[in-house]
């Protein structure tokens, strides 16, 4: 019973504490994908809280009602094997809950793996996000620019991130826009995000990748399409071109500030685009567009592809 009160007190304290704070990043979505995920999270918290409360109430009842100190000396507890009704309820209700959550989960899977809801008819902006120890390189093939450790994106346009890594496995995560996905050295994964409103968001590598992992973050700024276009123009006018030797230097382990270049590294260091385990329709679909966008890399790719598959 003390335990009950303790837990209750702890949870209340936490709730009060939280109420006084800013909303938690994950529960403060700024895009459709993150919103779906936040809704799933809140829904599951609600259902799960009911289960926890039922278990706690039952436990409290049993512990208070049947403790030895309240019973007569000669009370002999009965031998009870089980009861089909009770067991049917104890199996049936969890099955219904799990079935319902599975239904929601499967639906959400297809939603977060495809173009964000409400953005289906807009052409996605493809950004290649690659990681190296311990920084992020963002290539905008459409705009022909590249940034390091910061990301400008237009609002009201779906963004299609192509993720890969020049080193250990990393995980690309912008909590307020949507959940993370791995970036690996031997394949490209696709993450669909979109920002509903302008704003500044935190982005980071969420998968441990060695010494510089804690600071492996980047800033995300969402802005209107016109602001974004202005920024692109400005970059094209002012930034230096990204050369192969410059890029090789960037890949060396270490932390860098924010940097901006014209051109992308995709020309001389293409993404490892072949498919290890790719069964989502959307990825296959979008891959066509990349191939046409980056014709120059197709030659290197075939060779690399064969190496990887050990032919």
């Amino acid at each position: 019973m003390k335990l009950k009160w303790l837990l209750f007190a702890t949870l209340t304290t936490l709730a009060v504490f939280l109420a006084g704070c800013e909303p938690l990043l994950v529960l403060d979505p700024k895009g459709p994908q993150a919103e779906r995920q936040a809704n799933d999270i809140l829904l599951s918290i609600g259902i799960m809280a009911v289960i926890v409360i039922i278990v706690m109430v039952l436990l409290a009842y049993m512990l208070i009602k049947f403790r030895a100190s309240k019973q007569s000396e000669d009370y002999e507890p009965p031998h009870i094997e089980g009861n089909p009704w009770i067991e049917a309820i104890c199996v049936g209700i969890p099955v219904i809950i799990v079935a319902f959550l599975s239904f929601v989960s499967v639906q959400s899977n297809y939603i977060v793996e495809s173009t964000p809801v409400g953005y289906e008819d807009k052409e996605p902006l493809v950004i290649y996000a690659s990681s190296s120890d311990w920084k992020w390189h963002f290539s905008y093939p459409e705009q022909n620019i590249e940034t390091v450790n910061y990301l400008y994106i237009p609002t009201d346009r779906p963004i299609e991130f192509k993720l890969y890594s020049y080193g250990p496995i990393t995980s690309f995560w912008i909590p307020q826009l949507g959940g993370q996905k791995y970036a690996m050295s031997d394949m490209v994964t696709t993450l669909h995000l979109a920002a509903d409103v302008p704003g500044e968001f935190m982005g980071r590598n969420a998968n441990f990748s060695g010494k510089g992992f804690a600071e492996n973050t980047f800033n995300v700024t969402a802005m209107t399409q016109s602001d974004f276009d202005k920024w692109v123009e400005e970059v094209l006018e002012t930034a230096k071109p990204l050369t192969e030797s410059e890029f090789e230097k960037l890949l060396e382990p270490g932390h860098l500030g924010q940097m901006t270049f014209t051109g992308t590294h995709l020309d001389f260091s293409p993404a490892p685009e072949h498919h290890h385990a790719d069964d989502s329709e959307s990825e296959t679909e979008t891959d066509h567009s990349e191939h046409s966008e980056n014709k120059s890399e197709s030659h290197d790719m075939t060779e690399e592809h064969m190496n990887h598959n050990g032919h």
Partner: protein, 648 residues
């Protein structure tokens, strides 16, 4: 000079040098002490060469407690480093080594030996057997575990600790990104103890299938034996995967193969898949025996039979099957697409159903019972709500789309500690207190034990519940520092206080052992808890042969029936008892494995080859050995029995 550089620590710090000195002093102290008190012979005869399952169990138990403190020291350092923003207590490298060793030590070298301790101590007694099926193999299992544990533990003072996380994902764990020998230690130490675990799995399976007392059908086995049986079946299926994965990882690191590299066709994800095909069932290897212990304890202290015995067994069988079908939920974010994620999301959530059945069965075991709040019972009823919270957050994590937000965050860290600590650690402490009188002949102090329980519970809640929140606020796991602007500071400080309370709780529990050893009465009889199953039907302390006469079993609560219904448990006269002989070979083989492991870590090929030959020589010698064991005579049995409280 170059020779010594290889053994130097790549990232030394004053703490490591201090530990070196401490290890040296303790070793010298042990050697001097043993010599001074003339205990070398005793140590060799009674412990190092023993094949008695009870003594092996006790050795597992003490190793596990030792490792609990090793892993706990790591935990405290981590929480201290994270207690304030921008703390400078540890640097990134040191922090990485610490969380890696914390994970490995706690899972492989603390939780595993802890469950093996209870399997060894309790299973043969519960099924009315004289020993396990292969006593000498059992000793070898222990010494392999011990060799692996010691090899892993010297890593931070010789050559550097592994720093790629306990999951050791490639390519980070490959030579390109982890240059020190740390990951070699990881691969080889876990391999050695893993071989020991696999042998235990085979041994225990055989024991339970072949050595049950007459009348004990499978559906009359006590619940802990059932849980141990299923856990060992999982071991036998899961550990070979780990063996192969570690071997591939070792050859990648030592011989330049390219299984998991980024070039030449290596597939980094292959490691992750292998690791979790072992790693997920491993969770159930740990938790199922814990469930078994809870079943015994809740039933004993409610003075009631276990409610829903059959559904308990069925749920464990179902969990064991499902445990092999969910590994992908450890990397929903790996880009395998919506279909795969959906399948694994459903299989993962499905585990909640049999687990829920177990929770309700325990609740209904309390129903109409006569509940005594002893220390083991406190852990067991404390486990129910805490584990339920851990379980439901597991269901939340199983929703793969939402998992994109939880993955790699402190939310996940909170979840698995919320299942493993109330699930496994509480069960081990409950079992420790519950079985202590049977194996050591005195009770642990209840008052101090209750202090330990409450400190641990409060500490646990404070340490881990804040992490759910910081996780949802974007705190990734394994970050050695964070800025003040993130706002993670206050909750991490709370977590640090929780961790400190937990440390105090563990010290209290150890103090309890010391205090009770000094002060507790020794005339406690053989059944101090008024228990129900067969292990309490033998004497305290348990004689070498466990049962003078083989018990005749008619239900899963044979001992209870004997006490209450006048069931005849022991019939007939004494017969001479066949027992295995002690052997030094398992210990020696364990030590050679240690040397072989050390040589492989540092790629010292000549000693490596010599030790490998030594291992094969030991095996060859065994196959030529004519050792048929020995018999305990009837007179000797009568004498022991009358000394321990008269023949029943």
């Amino acid at each position: 000079m170059e020779f010594f550089e290889r053994f130097a620590i790549p990232h030394p710090s004053p703490a490591i040098y201090a530990s070196m000195v401490a290890i040296g002093l303790v070793s010298i102290g042990i050697i001097v002490g043993l010599t001074y008190f003339k205990k070398w012979g005793y140590l060799w005869r009674e412990w190092l060469t023993t094949v008695d399952h009870k003594k092996i169990g006790i050795m597992y138990l003490f190793s596990a407690i030792l490792m609990l403190f090793r892993g706990g020291a790591d935990a405290i350092m981590m929480r201290a480093q994270l207690s304030t923003p921008d703390a400078k207590l540890l640097d990134a490298q040191h922090y990485n080594e610490i969380f890696t060793t914390h994970g490995v030590v706690m899972i492989i070298f603390m939780a595993m030996p802890f469950i093996f301790a209870f399997m060894n101590l309790v299973v043969p007694l519960q099924i009315g057997a004289r020993d396990v099926a292969f006593p000498r193999l059992n000793a070898l299992s222990f010494w392999l575990f011990f060799a692996g544990a010691m090899l892993f533990n010297i890593s931070f003072v010789i050559g550097g600790s592994p720093d790629a996380g306990w999951t050791s994902y490639f390519p980070l764990a490959g030579n390109d990104f982890s240059e020190s020998v740390g990951t070699n230690y990881y691969m080889i130490a876990i391999q050695i103890s893993g071989i020991g675990s696999l042998m235990t799995g085979i041994n225990m399976m055989t024991t339970i299938l072949k050595m049950r007392a007459p009348g004990m059908t499978l559906m009359k086995m006590p619940m802990f034996t059932w849980s141990a049986f299923i856990a060992n079946v999982i071991i036998v299926f899961a550990f070979p995967v780990l063996t192969v994965a570690l071997l591939m990882g070792t050859t990648d690191r030592l011989f330049g193969t390219n299984f998991f590299t980024t070039t030449n066709g290596g597939m980094d994800m292959l490691w992750a898949n292998f690791f979790w095909i072992w790693g997920h069932p491993e969770v159930y290897i740990l938790i199922l025996p814990a469930f078994g212990l809870y079943s015994e304890i809740i039933s004993t202290f409610s003075s009631r039979n276990l409610y829903g015995y059959k559904s308990m067994v069925a749920s464990m069988v179902l969990i064991s099957l499902l445990s092999f079908l969910v590994w992908t939920h450890h990397f929903f974010t790996m880009g395998q697409g919506a279909l795969t994620n959906s399948i694994f999301s459903i299989t993962t959530m499905a585990i909640a159903v049999p687990t829920g059945v177990k929770i309700f069965n325990w609740l209904f075991t309390l129903w109409k019972g006569k509940i005594r709040f002893t220390v083991p019972m406190l852990y067991s009823v404390g486990f129910i709500p805490l584990f339920t919270i851990g379980g439901v957050t597991g269901v939340m994590l199983a929703m793969s789309a939402a998992d994109y937000q939880y993955h790699n965050t402190m939310f996940l860290v909170a979840h698995f500690h919320n299942t493993i600590i109330p699930g496994v650690v509480f069960a081990m402490l409950a079992g420790l207190t519950y079985y202590w009188p049977k194996f050591f002949g005195f009770m642990l102090n209840e008052r101090i034990g209750k202090w330990g329980f409450w400190l641990l519970t409060v500490g646990f809640v404070l340490a881990f519940f804040p992490m759910y929140i910081t996780g949802l606020d974007g705190q990734a796991r394994r970050m050695y520092t964070y800025s003040e602007a993130t706002g993670f500071g206050p909750l991490n400080l709370v977590a640090f206080f929780g961790a400190a309370l937990m440390a105090i709780a563990f010290l209290t529990i150890v103090y309890n052992i010391y205090y009770s050893f000094k002060n507790s009465p020794r005339n406690i009889g053989s059944d101090p808890w008024d228990a129900r199953s067969l292990e309490w039907a033998t004497h305290t302390p348990v004689p070498e042969y466990n049962f003078a006469r083989v018990p005749q079993v008619a239900s899963s609560e044979a001992f209870w029936d004997m006490k209450k219904k006048g069931h005849q448990l022991f019939k007939g006269d004494f017969k001479k008892i066949h027992m295995p002989n002690n052997s030094g070979v398992p210990f020696i083989m364990g030590m050679i494995f240690f040397l072989a492991g050390f040589s492989f870590v540092f790629a010292l090929w000549i000693p490596a080859v010599i030790s490998l030959i030594g291992i094969f020589v030991c095996m060859a010698l065994r196959s030529f050995e004519k050792d048929h064991g020995r018999y305990i005579s009837i007179e000797e049995i009568e004498e022991t029995e009358s000394k321990l409280g008269g023949a029943k």
